[in-house]
């Protein structure tokens, strides 16, 4: 068991170089990859989420922590797969058709990865059929749809409708987010959840796959 907090501290500080070095050093010392994820990376991203929610951290700090976490995860992920460790859930994420904005979507994707989810990022301007295909192929538990623009919000409704028509609506939980999106809109279009920030989106996703509620 590894009791050091070097990787944890590096992620919370958003120091990608230090996070990568700490990961490599811990693995070289024989620390189990799963231990690094569960004892350092997930708690670190929880802490980053808490700091964001109490407005000590803002978008730049979230982005830096996400990068630090991602760098470490790239080293660890193949080892987890080789060891047969299952992700806590599988997520397909993308910005809906007609919308090219991706900062919010990328933040959610990286925080979800940090929380132990397997994330398939479809990018921006994603047609409903592409979401549906990825959900089927990846056996996704959750589909996260993002939109920044008022004019592209209706594509969220269209995408959910396409899931119904494809017969996969009941197989996947649909979470939506983005500046103009509200809980009321989520209810109107039949989404399963809405979050107004990236940190809370992770808590929601965890809840959807039955691994606890909000992180804090």
């Amino acid at each position: 068991m590894d009791d050091s907090k070097i990787l944890y501290d590096a992620i919370v500080a958003g120091n990608a170089k230090a996070a990568l070095a700490a990961t490599k050093a811990a693995l070289a010392e024989g620390v189990e990859p799963f231990e690094l994820v569960s004892r350092q990376m997930i708690p670190a991203m929880d802490e980053v989420g808490k700091l964001f929610e109490c407005e000590e951290y803002f978008v730049p700090e979230l982005l830096l922590a996400g990068r630090a976490m991602k760098g470490a995860l790239e080293v660890i992920r193949p080892l987890l797969a080789a060891g047969g460790v299952e992700p806590v859930g599988r997520v397909v994420i993308g910005t809906v058709k007609g919308d090219l904005h991706d900062i919010g979507k990328n933040l959610v994707a990286s925080l979800l990865e940090g929380a132990g989810f397997e994330v398939v990022d479809l990018g921006t301007d994603v047609p409903a059929a592409k979401f549906a295909q990825a959900i089927r192929e990846k056996k996704a538990d959750i589909a996260c749809l993002s939109a920044l623009l008022t004019v592209t919000m209706p594509a969220m409704r269209d995408t959910i409708e396409a899931f119904r028509q494809a017969g996969i609506r009941d197989q996947v939980k649909v979470l939506i987010g983005g500046a103009p999106v509200t809980q009321q809109y989520a209810d109107e279009i039949g989404a399963d959840g809405y979050s107004d920030n990236a940190s809370a989106a992770v808590g929601l996703a965890r809840k959807m796959v039955g691994v606890g509620g909000q992180p804090n």
């Binding site: 978008v59 982005l63 007609g98 090219l100 103009p180």
Partner: protein, 422 residues
């Protein structure tokens, strides 16, 4: 009161005869070309294609006949070049999906394999495209052109290519628009060269052919935390350039031409929070803004206009300390941006240019009666003792029902009528 006197009174925090109204004078108080076309038809104006004066957001030019029909009071004195680095002049026909419009002659596009529209900096088809409009979309987004970043070789000068001394052609342009503005019956707000500090819309530099430095949006945001000395050096130099450019513009146009100037459009708010702490704003932005605003206030009568979307209530005292006279778009739909609180806490100091109606929900998706009710309420709250220019929260977006826009304008007229006791 003339429109100009009305705007000036509102900017001085004096009660004008009625609330001045703006649509179309800036890149953040504008109207999408499709809505301009719909309004021209609604008001029975001469049938002619709308001119796209700002191609990035596909904003349509609000000409004098439409300005009169809509009951507006403000016109814009635009910069020489658009966001894609070419002037809005020498018009040519263009079909935007199902709408016939006029675009500047250097508005050169190609269609990629997805059917997306690509546009080129300075209209140069041999340069990499700098903007993309998804097939069936309504406006462009910047294509990120980021060279690999080597922190040891980063030079703030690379991010300053667009903020250097303005050309003689730009000075001549200001002389022309200044002469026109000085004689205008409308209130006038002008775009200024090079006073934007870290505006995320400008960071990717869609107007440059081969931008250098930090041009990726995410990279810029993290740099405000991780490369702060780089940004300080950049802003220091930018302010130095701005002083020279402002002096040349002021010499070319004089004092009487402009009532307000658009100083900076950097967004500091998200829907629910800010992009940085108050402490970061005060360290990284405030000193430079204060220098720019200070120069303007010492040397001109222009009022300084600051645009920032989002939940910026906590930053407003620092905006005021930065020397900003006017806040736009006053996003009342964001956290903490309650109209009554904003007016009572900051209304004696700050002019609210916006906030008239929500554009995320009410205006695009509400009924005309819902629009009317919200507009009347906002006018009631914001208009007391001047300090209010009616505008929606940011541009009128494509797809906004014309009936709702008309309901909005009629509600302002209704309020103005009752305020006068008619």
């Amino acid at each position: 009161m003339t429109s100009r006197e009305r705007l000036q009174a509102a900017l001085r925090h004096e009660q004008p005869d009625r609330i001045p109204v703006d649509f179309g004078s800036t890149g953040t108080t504008g109207v999408h070309a499709s809505v301009v076309a719909g309004l021209r038809e609604h008001y029975g104006l001469e049938k002619r294609p709308v001119k796209i004066h700002e191609p990035y957001q596909m904003l349509g030019l609000v000409e004098d006949d439409l300005r009169q029909a809509m009951g507006l009071d403000v016109e814009g004195a635009f910069a020489l070049n658009t966001m894609f680095g070419f002037p809005a002049e020498a018009w040519k026909p263009f079909r935007l999906w199902d709408l016939d419009v006029l675009v500047p002659v250097d508005f050169n596009t190609t269609v990629d394999t997805n059917g997306d529209l690509l546009i080129y900096p300075e209209g140069d088809l041999s340069a990499p495209p700098s903007g993309r409009m998804p097939r069936g979309g309504y406006f462009f987004d910047s294509i990120i052109r980021q060279e690999p970043i080597d922190d040891d070789r980063l030079d703030p000068a690379d991010n300053l290519e667009e903020f250097g001394p303005i050309s003689e052609a730009e000075v001549a342009h200001y002389r022309r628009i200044g002469a026109r503005a000085a004689a205008s019956q409308w209130g006038v707000i002008a775009a200024l060269p090079g006073t934007y500090l870290g505006d995320i819309a400008l960071v990717p530099a869609p107007f440059l052919k081969y931008p250098k430095g930090i041009r990726d949006v995410t990279e810029w945001y993290v740099s405000t935390r991780s490369r702060r000395s780089y940004i300080h050096k950049m802003f220091e130099k930018q302010v130095e350039y701005a002083f020279d450019n402002l002096a040349r513009v002021h010499a070319a146009v004089g004092d009487a031409a402009f009532d307000a100037v658009f100083v900076c459009g950097t967004d500091f708010g998200t829907q629910t929070s800010t992009f940085c702490s108050v402490a970061t704003y005060r360290e990284l932005w405030l000193p430079y803004y204060r220098e720019i605003s200070g120069w303007i206030h010492r040397n001109t009568r222009w009022k300084t206009f600051k645009h920032s979307c989002g939940a910026v209530e906590k930053l407003i005292p620092s905006f005021i300390e930065s020397g900003f006279d006017i806040l736009n778009p006053v996003q009342c739909s964001a956290s903490g941006m309650d109209p009554r609180h904003l007016k009572s806490a900051y209304g004696r100091t700050l002019v609210f240019w916006g906030g008239g109606v929500d554009t995320q929900k009410t205006l695009p998706f509400g009924t005309p009666e819902e629009v009317r009710r919200e507009v009347l309420e906002r006018c009631e709250v914001f208009s007391r003792d001047g300090g209010f220019v009616f505008n929606s929260i940011h541009n009128l977006q494509a797809g906004t029902p014309v009936a709702n826009v008309v309901a909005m304008l009629d509600a302002v007229r209704e309020f103005n009528g009752s305020a006068k006791g008619d």
